[in-house]
């Protein structure tokens, strides 16, 4: 009887370890994919600039078009509907929110040192050229064990910079 109870306890412990391990690995992979999404969104957003200002040698982002492109990319990469809620089959379970910061010749003096520091993630990037920074908050990760369900939100930032050649 004693051996039977020990055996059952060992099996339950193994199951808990396996379930947590799988959920944690999936969380880490989605964390990486979120970082890629932030990088890709900032790259997409940086493609839309005012051609008249560009002909004067200044990059000024067309912020409306950039935001539209960023929103489309977020929905594409993270499998969301038009309200930024996860579609069935998506890993995420909360509504996704994002912030975008534009640093261009309209609002930044590039002759002095500038730094962008994200308040949520502490992501710090030196701003020396026109840059788009995107921060995405994907909400809570999926953990099946109740003990780990309130671990905290996953927030990642990415940036894309125009460099003069």
């Amino acid at each position: 009887m004693k051996e039977f109870l020990i055996g059952i306890s060992v099996i339950i412990l193994y199951c808990i370890i396996n379930v947590f391990g799988q959920d944690f690995n999936l969380d880490m992979r989605q964390n990486f994919n979120l970082k890629y999404a932030a990088n890709e969104c900032s790259a997409s957003g940086s493609l839309f600039y005012d051609p008249v200002k560009y002909s004067e040698g200044k990059i000024v982002f067309q912020q409306d078009k950039s935001k539209e492109a960023i929103e489309k990319q977020i929905k594409n990469l993270l499998k969301l509907d038009d309200s930024f809620n996860p579609l069935p089959g998506s890993y995420y379970q909360d509504k996704i929110t994002y912030k975008v910061y534009f640093y261009d010749y309209n609002n930044t003096d590039f002759s002095i040192p500038n730094t962008h520091k994200d308040v949520d993630t502490g992501y710090t990037v030196s701003i020396t050229s026109p840059t788009v920074v995107v921060t995405i908050n994907s909400g809570k990760s999926r953990y099946r064990l109740t003990l780990f369900q309130n671990i905290g939100s996953t927030i990642r930032s990415g940036s894309h910079t125009w460099k003069d050649r």
Partner: protein, 138 residues
Amino acid sequence: MKSLIATSAVLILLVIFPLQTVLDQINHKKLRDFDEIVHNACEQARTDGRFTPENIENIKKSVTAKFHDISEGDISINVTTEMKYRLDEDDEREHINYEIKVPLKKIVAGNLILGISDADNQVVYTQKGYVLSEVPMP
């Protein structure tokens, strides 16, 4: 002797659990590497304006190097190979689409003991999406 036989039978069943943990870590590493390969290839495609044959070949070589149990024929690569230019409009004409699939051949450890066939013990992992071309119209 009776205890030895009973313990051996139970050990065979119990050893599946640590083997499953090891297999999960191996699969996680494979998928993590696959994601990185695809994302790097997409960034290259963004600057090239399309997925070049060299880029596609590189994907196949990199994936088969990480997944030792598959060949290049098992990888499904459905990507945009014609040139896409930046039009400042954010529509389909600028999209470089990609859909890359790879089979993950072992999910459950000791599947035959548990009555799961090899055909059922695999899944196809897909990375799908689009990137915007950075190449200006000539």
